[in-house]
Amino acid sequence: MKMTEITTPAAPAPAPPAPKGSGTLKHIGYVLRENPVTGLSFLMFAGLLISAAIGPWIVPYDPLATNAAAVLQPPSATHWFGTDNLGRDVFSRVIVATRLDLIISVAAVTLSFIFGSVIGALAGYRGGWFDIIASRCLDTIMAFPLFVLAMGIVAALGNSVANIIYATAIINIPFYARLVRAEVNIRREAGFTLAAKLAGNSDARVLAFHIFPNALPPMMVQVSLNLGWAILNAAGLSFIGLGVRPPTPEWGIMVAEGANYIVSGEWWMALFPGLWLMLAVFTFNLMGDGLRDIVDPRRRT
């Protein structure tokens, strides 16, 4: 895999400041070689996507089927992750839950990406009263401990999965909006912006096609880091009994169900969904760090 990445770029010069198009590929290859963990995180992400896509068809048992004859069995060859208090197969439930957890976090992050971008771009480009009002509103959201605000929103809107998504989206909007606002603001008077305007482009067009794309690379890093946080947040909400209802397989609620059995030693019910949740968050965080290295080598920490 690495060999192809080294050989594909047309420019033979090994020096870092290579010509543009091939330089990007080269740089990605360089980052992957320097930090193989990033490559691993992409592989793990692919694994998560596959289990989300075809999970329900490949799992050995029906995630909802109870079996009174096989209750609370420890992990074995027939039940890889053991069975829970109703005899359901924990492995099947963990894999099937991937889809729901990914949907919640991806949907939430998409919503906050869209709304955050629009609010941030308008505030950064227009300035003035819109900027002041928008910034004040975002500050007020940030004045709440975010998980607590999400709890309050779900309690107010009603206890459903859709509302978990909305709540997670709302608490994430400030991060995107602030990022876009800063990126747009510093380019508002830039030479290429003025040139685009002089060439007769409308404000909306300049903002959408000339300024905003510059904010995309840092946004992608933010998205990846945010996805992990959104999953944690959603799982935390369902852990305290919000959103997802009991028979549905979801990592947070499975950990909550397993927590009741941990003091009597049935560790597998809570451990495996918890591990999967951790793995997913870990994947997104590693990917975010890797993307950051690819996008902006200066921000490495």
């Binding site: 940030m142 305290i240 927590a259 009597s264 590693l286």
Partner: protein
């Protein structure tokens, strides 16, 4: 000196619009209940007449703006409404449970600062060493660990397998008597009462939940300390200080750390936000009788007044903590107030 005084007064004044914003949002949240708020507050066994009565009692038949002012007036009198499940005022319930939450959160933050700041400094002064690798591992693992899951794993290992931790049920095992109420913090109250057994019992109960929360908050602080120390150490004034022949200790702690402290203190604000949220989850895992588990219990029985009171209380606490952090700036940073308007 007067410049500094003005700057501090300005910073306190800046908290006022934030508090107003917080109050507006919690008002919107109380009025955005699914369906009819009056029906929610009246409970399940309500007749149309009793719902109408509740509506009048809550002032929900008045215009929205007037409702908002009534809400504010009630807040000023410390009235957050009645809890449906217990029938007691929400404020007194929250006040009774707040010390438990604060004791847990503050202990955890203290522990995590005590570990992560030295760790970050060591990692920054010896880049690439095993300390640096350990720091990196902790930082990456720390942000990926779901708090509630860490807590459960700790309970399994230290309570079930090793048997060295007490059962994860509350602040004090039933064999101990609660110390006489002075501050509500069991650690402090038992010291005041000179009751060392209770003090030991409190510490034993506190270790696991505090560790759980500390593990969660370690990562951002250690990461920021390391990054801030690295950038401070590469600054020109450090080179000058070294060239002037100052001792290593003086350079490291007198100059580099003092400058690195500012971004670290700023991160603490974000860490508080996460810690107060994580507090809810940790309290549920350890059956800790704080305001977080109160809110979770209230959520289960749809006791909305209690939940909204909790959200408001947490937000006000967070605004207050942020204010304290910013005021701490004025102590740490001698430039404070000279450049500010």
């Amino acid at each position: 000196m007067s410049g500094r005084g003005t700057a501090i007064a300005l910073r306190i004044a800046q908290a006022i619009p934030v508090v107003i914003g917080v109050v507006v949002i919690s008002f919107v949240l109380t009025r955005a209940l699914p369906g009819d708020p009056a029906a929610q507050f009246a409970g399940i066994a309500a007749t149309p007449e009793s719902i109408e009565e509740v509506r009048r009692a809550l002032g929900l038949d008045k215009p929205l703006l007037q409702q908002f002012f009534i809400y504010c007036a009630q807040l000023l009198q410390g009235d957050l409404g009645q809890s449906i499940s217990t029938g007691r005022p929400v404020v007194s319930e929250l006040a009774a449970r707040l010390p438990a939450s604060l004791e847990l959160t503050l202990t955890a933050l203290f522990v995590s600062c005590a570990i992560s700041i030295p760790l970050g400094i060591l990692a920054a002064t010896r880049p690439g060493s095993w300390v640096d690798q350990l720091c990196r591992l902790l930082v990456t693992a720390g942000v990926s660990l779901p708090t509630f899951f860490t807590g459960i794993v700790l309970v399994y290992v230290f309570y079930y397998l090793l048997g060295i931790a007490p059962s994860p049920l509350g602040r004090l095992d039933f064999v101990y008597l609660e110390p006489p109420h002075v501050t509500g913090f069991f650690l402090i109250d038992s010291v005041i009462a000179r009751d060392w057994e209770t003090f030991g019992g409190t510490v034993k109960q506190l270790v696991l939940p505090a560790t759980t929360m500390a593990l969660f908050t370690l990562a951002p602080i250690a990461r920021m300390t390391r990054a801030a120390m690295l950038s401070a150490l590469s600054a020109d004034f450090i080179r000058t200080a070294r060239a002037s022949g100052l001792s290593r200790r003086k350079v490291l702690y007198g100059y580099a750390f003092r400058n690195a402290l500012l971004p670290v203190v700023t991160t603490l604000g974000m860490v508080f936000s996460f810690a107060l949220g994580a507090n809810v989850l940790v309290e549920k895992v350890f059956a800790w009788p704080g305001i977080g588990s109160y809110a979770v219990e209230a959520l289960v029985v749809s006791d909305y007044a209690a939940v909204q009171g909790f959200v408001l209380a947490m937000a006000l606490l967070f605004v207050f903590l942020n204010l304290v952090i910013d005021l701490a700036y004025s102590v740490i940073d001698p430039r404070f107030g000279t450049s500010a308007k």
